[in-house]
Amino acid sequence: MKVCRRSFLSLIIGGAAGTALSPLPLKLMDDSSIWSQAWPWTPVPEDGEVSHVGSICTLCPGGCGITVRKVNDRAIKIEGMKGHPVNNGGICVLGLSGLQLLYGPTRVKTPLKRVGARGEGRWEKISWDEAIAEVVKKLGGLREKGKSHTVACISGTDRGTVAQLLGRFLTVYGSPNFIRIPSIQDSYELTMHLMQGVQASAGFDVENADFVLSFGSGLIEGWGSPVRMIKANSKWKERGKVVQIESRLSNTAAKADKWVPINPGTEAALALAIANVIIQKSLYNADFVKNYSSGFEEFKQMVLNEFSPDDVSGITGVSASTIESLAKSFAGSSKPLAVCGRGQGETPGSLNEFMAVHTLNALVGNIDKKGGVWTVPDPDYIKWPEVEMDRIAANGMSKARIDGAGSKRYPDTRYLLDRLPNAINSGKEYPVEALFVAGANPVYTIPDSKAVKEAFNKVPFVVSFSSYMDETAVNSDLILPNHVFLERYEDVPTPVGLQKPIIGLSKPVVKPLFNTKHLGDVILLMAKAFGGQIAKAFPWDSYEVCLKETLGNKWDKLINDGFWADSNFRPAVWGGAFHTPSRKFEFVNKGKAESIKIEGDEKAYPLILMPYDSMRLASGFIGDPPFVIKTVEDTVLKGKEIVVEVNPKSARGFREGDQAILSTPKGSVKVRVHHFNGIMPGLVALPRGLGHTAYDEYLADKGVNFNELIGPVEDPVSGLNAAWGIRAKLTRA
């Protein structure tokens, strides 16, 4: 048959038409759409049996109860625990994102030993036996040379069994250098110590206060136990008033009933001027002042002479009439409460300011009263036998602390971490030969990052117990990764700022995912390896045994409810509350309440840089997980650039979104400018919690770490860091 062009064409066309009319195209279309609905690279979460585990979140000192939803052995979601005395069902943005830390890429999965240069990030995986042997060998060597005191330990907390085990280990080993991460807790403890003669934490009965006078505290921005404070804020909306004294319109200021802008750093003067009005108009609680306080007359004279509203108005920028009305409404309320500690309270602050503010509480007599400041003793469930130190340990313990805490100069201060970098760098004290870091990220959180890194580089042996590859872990020699909080048992004593002692119990929600080990067990293993008195001080087989024994009859309740509260606890009665030499509240007057001078020359640096805190930026030892960094607004972080707030008045030609160089005496960084009418002219505000160099690609290299731009300023009384800002300038990029 002759195949002509025509039949060929017909075949093609006929074939095409035939295929088009057959069900094949339909079938293919359907298949393709089904395929696109289940792309193999889109995960399909496995279903299974649902269960809930109650525990305590330890991502911050807030101590919230959490309920973790599980499907089979996977943790699916963290929710707030209903009925928990701190957060009753509520939960914060960081706590909600906890699973991203558990399952996230920043986990340290096995003990690591540095092989490259410090901070280079080259590691060798080692076994736990090797890791512990390594530490013991190093520490043993130091001990033999009588240098046990050159070992220091930085810990996120000094409370609870794990921190206590760590401290105990240091003691029997022979070093006085257990150092807690600084915060306003230091200042509050010192204030309570000096004015009330007690060694206790300050608790605030915020739920019952009806007039809250806050001197720059970020009441709803992470101050105290964050969820509890936000809950309290909602209560104040229903019945109560809040006055925020702050130079920037923070969230707290915006939510307050009244915002009083103040020249930064003059808060103590304002507090004393308020005291002046209260005393002058006899608005104070006469019973308390007369019967339960001492030093009032002296205090009165000082305040009347030096802190008249008119004079203070000039210093603070707050009008005399405002001062008077503040004083009247404060003293006129039935349950007034004055608090201080800037932002989230990560910088301890000026002791004078704390005492001045606490004086206001004393004047209205709301100490250990409903809605006031309570003296909260540490829970006393940890009753281990006294350690028996051997000769070396006793010798080591007799040495002075390297940070100067408890020295002649700062006799009452317990920890002074902010002084450590300088102590190491200056070499005036003894060198630090080994450093432990647990539950803390000092390389990131301590001011003057340059000096901190320099100090770290001078320490020949740094051991990190971090679960995550944070800045400190990166700059260490050995990482002994702890379980994360969702994988371990741990007791959580009274959350910061809570007015009654409670104990929470963190429970393992999931089995440890990686080759990590509980810090408590690591301490026990180290102690055993040393033998002798050191081993003797730790008679437990495992941390779990130790914890169960320590908690005794509270254990069952803790396992069932997740927390234990002392139902018998009542605030102290004035008659027996004060343990000062006079047995009364003391209006301590430690020199003139001078404001803390910040670093930098006014001419070279016309602006003042201040940090601000946000619930959406974790600035402690934990960095923002992906969910949290996602919530950060574009007026805070834009791409990789940090945005600083400036009042349009002091923007000097910088338009919204312009790039600029922000310089302080400590360093300069690239920023973007955001015009914000809520900030006092002359100030620049920079968010804390950004500028991480470690962690994962969702967080690292975004923005600037505030600590690179500021150094500590020593409070003359306490030695704690009182820097509330630093001089700065903005120049063209």
Binding site: R6, L9, M29, S32, S33, W35, S36, Q37
Partner: protein
Amino acid sequence: MDSALIPEGVKRCSFGKFIFWIIVVGAVLLWGVFAMLLCWFKGLNQTNMNDAYGFAVWIWADLAVIALGGGAFFTGLLRYIFGKDELKNIINYAVLIGFICYSSALLILAIDIGQPLRGWFIFWHANVHSMLTEVAFCLSCYFAVLTIEYIPLILENRQVDKVPFFHNLSHNMHGIMAIFAATGAFLSFFHQGSLGGVAGVLFGRPFAYREGVFIWPWTFFLFTWSAAACGPCFTIFITWITEKITRKKLVKKNVIMLLAKIAGWMLATYTIAKIIDTWYWAAVTVPSKGFTLMDFYSNNPLYGIWILVLEIVICGVVPSIILITKKGRESSFLLISAVFLGALGACVNRWVMVLQVMAVPVMTFESWPMYFPSWQEIATTILPVAYGIILIMISYRYLPIFPQEREIEQIG
């Protein structure tokens, strides 16, 4: 070389020159195809679109080419239904331009959707309340009609025509073309309209929202009207360009004059309607939502009141006056300026109804998001232009697009 394929009695450039230009335009086409494939395989993250600009330059291009392709349906309507017989001399070209515009529009839509493989859901799971469903249905049906109108043209190629079946098919299709044209006009009316409805029904967007009759907002009718007005303008404009490029007269003046006159009256009435619509919208609709007219034309770096003036006065009133006056039509310069402005007016209108709609903030605490297309978007937008040029080149070379060409050539 390919002379056997070229229609009888007309001159075409050399095959080499033809191929050269095909390759040049083809390179641009390939660039567009590359961008298109990127969008398909990597997803729409290749574009600069975002959650504020869900519709962007593509949708504008889509609406614009459909409006400009409106010449096909309107000329067809005039030719087959209203019996304007002269127009048979330009209808072929109008159909070709329409075919190009509509196929491009469909292609753009296929790139624009996030899940192209599921594109057929719009037919299968149709929501009859959605203007977009109406668009999709009428668009595809009308595209089928345009194909049917274009097929006889292909069949008239010298070689194809030799096949008796194709010759007969072409003959028969011509025979009932009026029915197809009528269906096409019906479909076209609805999809031009529903494209207008797409923006007009957005009652959450006061800038776009218009009241109307039954389910159709005023923009529904305005879009159809403007397509009927600007489509012929575009046909005249492209014919003029083709004549310039080929350096030949292809369509007799009386045909152009007739089409221009009709287009002029359509444009004039459209402009009046548009002015009334804008006035009512600015005076009644917008204030009832809490806005003033100037809210939509201030506080942003691009959209000032100039765009409204450009659309209505410069691209509406001015070309209308030119086209409805005999003197204006007869001046070649004025005529071409007028049809260009008319076509531009449709493009500006579609831009405003797509991109400015996205840009105007509705919530008081939002600001104007601005947008600039990525190169992938630009390339895929240019793709249809390149494709259209190539199709015109091939059709012009091998098909009897301009029935009067031989006649004019012989006279000339």
